[in-house]
């Protein structure tokens, strides 16, 4: 560590600066915002997956004292606000005019003086529907001749949202034909939901006198939202300088709070029309049924290899169920995100992947679950099929991985699908994980248990992540490049204010960004105030998602701080009456080379910046940096999971979970461990319990916490975490993103462990979530249930 505990730069496990308010119940979440005269909004939602709206009768609702208005599609149509773009450039209804396209779709909204009265009003609205045929199966939707779902799109003749591919199809087909062994596996990664503990909501506040709109909302990307609002509502006079988005404390985001949902837009429209603040807060069932969905990838995976296990070719064909609209937040150039990371940690000579995204009568899909860029799906496919190959070759899965890994000396490594992996040391991470877990002893234990009829499995996942979108040449959201920003002001007394275009939802930015400034300037992190989330004050940025904050805004913080340090050096030379070349730096002070006693502190330089400047130097001590990363960062890790399976109930118990992560240089080890722990729990959920499913009528299973099973403390093991450190060569601090790594890496490790436990019964694959029901049926079929 370069800094001492007083400065608390990188590498210190500084206690979080945001904790004092949270442990006292003094956080400021959106539902805590109360404005004078504020009204409440409640939404009437469709019980049908596809229906014609014949009539909306609001008369009973409007008779309830306190109900002020009902806003429906025709109301918004008057202002041409009934449609909006999604972040990926698709379109969706804000409120319908004639047809609903999924269960829980917004039909109309009731505005009332109180929360309970708004709910009464919503109950009293009577909507008459004519049910229409429902399409829930993406395979039927993609088939030629299927009825066209998105009739709103002129000339649309099929249900394809997009087709995207990467790699050489013909060469990969040929290579697979020539392979000595091909492991083939259908892998489904189901629709899941982030289920952040706080649902979505906003308080829209239109100031009729100033013509200014302020929206307090649960958004991970406040600036992007401001621009989208300006683009969508410019024609009704909402101009970008008169829109202020304030993202207060957010109770978990995980990507689900990136998009703009209809509820936000309706609340804004209501506030503009009525001229009073309007609060809209989803309840949990609305949240689980209407927005924030992720995954839903049906993948056909083929992995070709030589008999000795050398992998040579990979092909993945995917049908992606996007529901009613493509609601993902992927860069325009990459509609299937970074799915082409699917060759993973292995040097494949030939590879091809393709994604056909289809529309169905389900809520908008493809948003995010601690990974919006489809890396989870890619890693699940490759890490699952590697185990299928190992089983086929009767090789140990650890040995097969070790044999194939991209070697440390091959970095930077150019993958056949076009990515330049910045750095890595895969064998080191796997070896460390195997040592911690004592792999050979576990295999021995498994052998003994198997002989006694007990079911125990060991699963490995050696993932390669790709985060930090991203370089502007490749990455944009609706045309806005995915750089991010930092602005630092050093006050005369040497304390600092730092503002960012990102927005923490629990990641601890107020602490870690302060530590970056401390590292670079030597100003104690405790003296650095970090602010995010207010578009009137923070510099522009694309927000926090997909583990991009440290790779982008974190880098921007370092670069802005370095500009300030350069200016401080000029001032120090002036104060010490020497030349700048005669000065050396240690955190917090410039001193004359060889004379450590003659120095000026950064605080003294800051004071001089406002009081005693060298001639010709601009006063003040501020800097801004918009950081456009030269490449993405490629964190990686090896996870080993040990499971025991109850033959009587089919229940899978995760006994041990060892996670060795490499996210480059670490800003705050305590916070990184916390990120890994949380990510692992969000790996256990989808691997074993979580799924949003639909019946043939498009009704949801998993639409409340009654049947969407989020893991509790009882399902989560005592995580064992460790690190290897391979710095990113291009990030100014050598850091990489880390937030989503564990959620990406954990599910295949768990699935591989379960399959490993059952492999002697001839089981080669089980789709996640691996519920007790699924395992018990399998055991029963194999005659192994108790």
């Amino acid at each position: 560590m370069k800094t001492d505990a007083k400065i608390c730069g990188m590498g210190h496990s500084m206690k979080r600066k945001e904790d004092p308010r949270f442990i006292r119940g003094q956080g400021n979440y959106v539902d805590d915002v109360v404005l004078p005269g504020m009204l409440y909004m409640d939404i009437v939602r469709s019980p049908h997956a596809h229906a014609r709206i014949k009539k909306i009768d609001t008369s009973k609702a409007l008779k309830i004292p306190g109900v002020l208005a009902v806003i429906d599609g025709p109301t918004l149509e008057k202002y041409k606000l009934h449609w909006m773009p999604t972040i990926s450039g698709d379109t969706q209804m804000v409120l319908p005019i004639d047809e609903v396209m999924y269960v829980a779709q917004e039909v109309c909204a009731v505005i009332a003086t109180e929360r309970y009265i708004a709910a009464d009003g919503a109950d009293a609205v009577e909507v008459e529907y004519e049910p229409l045929p429902v399409m829930v199966d993406p395979m039927k939707s993609i088939a030629p001749g299927a009825p066209v779902l998105r009739k709103d799109k002129q000339g649309k003749k099929d249900n394809i949202a997009f087709h995207w591919e990467a790699g050489d199809r013909a060469a990969t087909e040929k290579a697979l034909k020539e392979c000595e062994v091909v492991a083939e596996q259908d892998v489904y990664v189901p629709r899941i939901h982030v289920a952040s503990m706080e649902t979505c909501g906003c308080v829209a506040d239109f100031d009729t006198a100033q013509g200014k709109l302020t929206v307090h909302m649960t958004t991970q990307a406040p600036h992007a939202v401001r621009t989208v609002f300006a683009l969508v509502a410019g024609h009704v006079g909402l101009s970008e300088e008169r829109i202020r988005i304030i993202s207060p404390d957010i109770g978990g985001g995980f990507g689900g709070k990136v998009p703009v949902y209809p509820g936000y837009v309706i609340a804004v429209a209501a506030s503009v029309v009525i001229g009073k603040p309007v609060k809209w807060i989803e309840d949990r069932m609305e949240n689980l049924q209407a927005d924030s969905f992720a995954r839903d990838y049906h993948m056909k995976v083929s992995l070709g290899a030589k008999k000795d296990g050398t992998m040579t070719a990979l092909r993945i064909k995917t049908v992606a169920d996007h529901g009613y609209t493509n609601a993902s937040a992927n860069p325009m150039k990459y509609p299937a995100g970074l799915f082409s990371i699917c060759t993973g940690s292995y040097p494949m000579k030939n590879a091809f992947c393709e994604v056909d995204a289809v529309y169905t009568h389900k809520p908008p899909g493809g948003v995010a679950y601690r990974c919006s860029f489809r890396v989870t799906e890619a890693v699940h496919a490759i890490e699952r099929v590697v185990d299928v190959l190992a089983q086929k070759l009767k090789m140990d899965p650890a040995e097969l991985r070790m044999k194939n890994f991209i070697r440390p000396e091959q970095f930077p490594y150019k993958s056949v699908l076009g990515w330049e992996y910045d750095s890595g040391n895969y064998p080191a991470a796997l070896k460390k994980a195997m040592d911690i877990v004592d792999y050979s002893s576990l295999r021995q234990e498994q052998k003994e248990k198997r002989a006694r009829g007990e079911l125990m499995g060991i699963g490995i996942c050696s993932f390669t992540e790709i985060v930090g979108a991203g370089p502007s040449k490749d990455f944009d959201i609706l045309g806005i490049k995915m750089f991010d920003s930092a602005e630092i002001r050093v006050h005369p007394t040497g304390k600092a204010l730092a503002r960012f275009g990102t927005k923490s939802q629990g990641q601890g930015h107020e602490t870690t960004y302060a530590q970056i400034v401390a590292e670079e300037l030597g100003i104690p992190a405790s003296d650095v105030q970090v602010e995010e989330g207010d578009t009137d004050t923070a510099p522009y940025g694309l927000g926090t998602s997909a583990s991009r904050s440290t790779p982008t805004s974190g880098a921007a913080a370092a670069m802005a701080a370095r500009k300030i340090r350069a200016k401080a050096k000029t001032i120090a030379a002036h104060l010490l009456e020497c030349s700048e070349v005669d000065l050396d730096w240690e955190p917090g002070k410039f001193f004359i080379k060889g004379v450590p006693g003659k120095f000026k502190t950064i605080q003294e330089c800051a004071f001089a910046a406002y009081t005693n400047l060298p001639k010709g130097l601009e006063p003040g001590m501020e800097a801004t940096n918009y950081y456009d990363p030269p490449n993405l960062t490629f964190p990686f890790g090896s996870y080993i999971c040990v499971v025991d399976i109850d033959r009587g109930t089919g229940e899978v118990k995760v006994r041990r979970f060892v996670a060795v992560d490499d996210c480059g240089n670490i800003i705050n080890p305590m916070i990184v461990d916390g990120q890994i722990h949380g990510g692992l729990a969000q790996g256990v959920g989808p691997a074993l319990y979580e799924e949003i499913g639909y019946d043939e009528e498009g009704n949801v299973f998993g639409g409340s916490f009654l049947d969407y099973y989020v893991p509790t403390a009882l399902e989560c093991p005592k995580w064992e975490t460790d690190k290897t450190i391979t710095p990113s060569p291009h990030h100014p601090l050598g850091a990489k993103g880390v937030g989503e790594s564990a959620t990406v890496g954990a599910p295949p490790a768990i699935a591989n462990a379960v399959v490993d436990a059952l492999s002697h019964l001839g089981v080669t694959h089980i789709d996640i979530p691996i519920t007790p029901d699924k395992v018990w049926k399998l055991l029963k079929a194999k005659g192994a249930a108790e």
Binding site: K15, R16, E18, D19, P20, R21, F22, I23, R24, G25, Q26, G27, Y29, D31, D32, V34, R115, Y116, V194, A195, S196, M197, E198, T199, D249, I250, G251, G252, G253, F254, D283, R284, M285, Q505, G506, Q507, G508, M670, I671, D673, G674, I676, H677, G678, G679, L680, A681, Q682, S704, F705, L706, V710, T712, A713, L714, C716, K718, W719
Partner: protein
């Protein structure tokens, strides 16, 4: 129909005219403006609304305000006494047992009540005690560690 209720909240007597259907959590958050107690689900699963009712942890989304009439409620705002944090609050910071902070008040109320009835809970007892409080950020391990840490400090 409105009811007159009298509830002792964090030591102070609070009176109000409330509807029969008003949930305790909304009475606390909206009538009293004590917003540390949160709402996270509609089905009593998540526990972010946990408060103490006569010293016992309850999910305040599943209690009517009228049921609290004549009783004593304490919320996360009542944990700090005389400018001194509750050991559990300190332990949560010390062990990094919170991230987004949304489940934290409920976790603090559940775990502080646990230590009232069990001075030295085992890891399994802690996990069992918080199994009605969901957290999406921490993976629970640091919460378990915080409870152990607070138990040690209190003993």
């Amino acid at each position: 129909m409105k009811h007159h209720i009298k509830v002792t909240v964090n030591g102070a007597v609070r009176e109000a005219e409330v509807e029969s259907r008003l949930l305790l959590v909304h009475f606390i958050r909206e009538n009293l403006r004590l917003t540390g107690t949160h709402v996270g689900c509609d089905t009593s699963h998540c526990g972010v609304c946990t408060v103490h009712l006569d010293g016992e942890p309850v999910k305040s989304c599943t209690v009517l305000a009228v049921q609290a009439d004549g009783r004593s409620v304490s919320t996360v705002e009542g944990l700090e006494q005389g400018g001194k944090l509750h050991p559990m609050q300190e332990a949560f910071t010390e062990k990094h047992a919170l991230q987004c902070g949304f489940c934290t008040p409920g976790m603090l109320m559940t775990t502080s009540a646990l230590l009232e009835r069990n001075k030295k809970p085992s890891e399994q007892e802690i996990r069992q005690a918080i199994s009605g409080n969901l957290c999406r950020c921490t993976g629970y391990l640091n919460i378990v560690k915080a409870v152990q840490h607070a138990a040690e400090k209190l003993s």
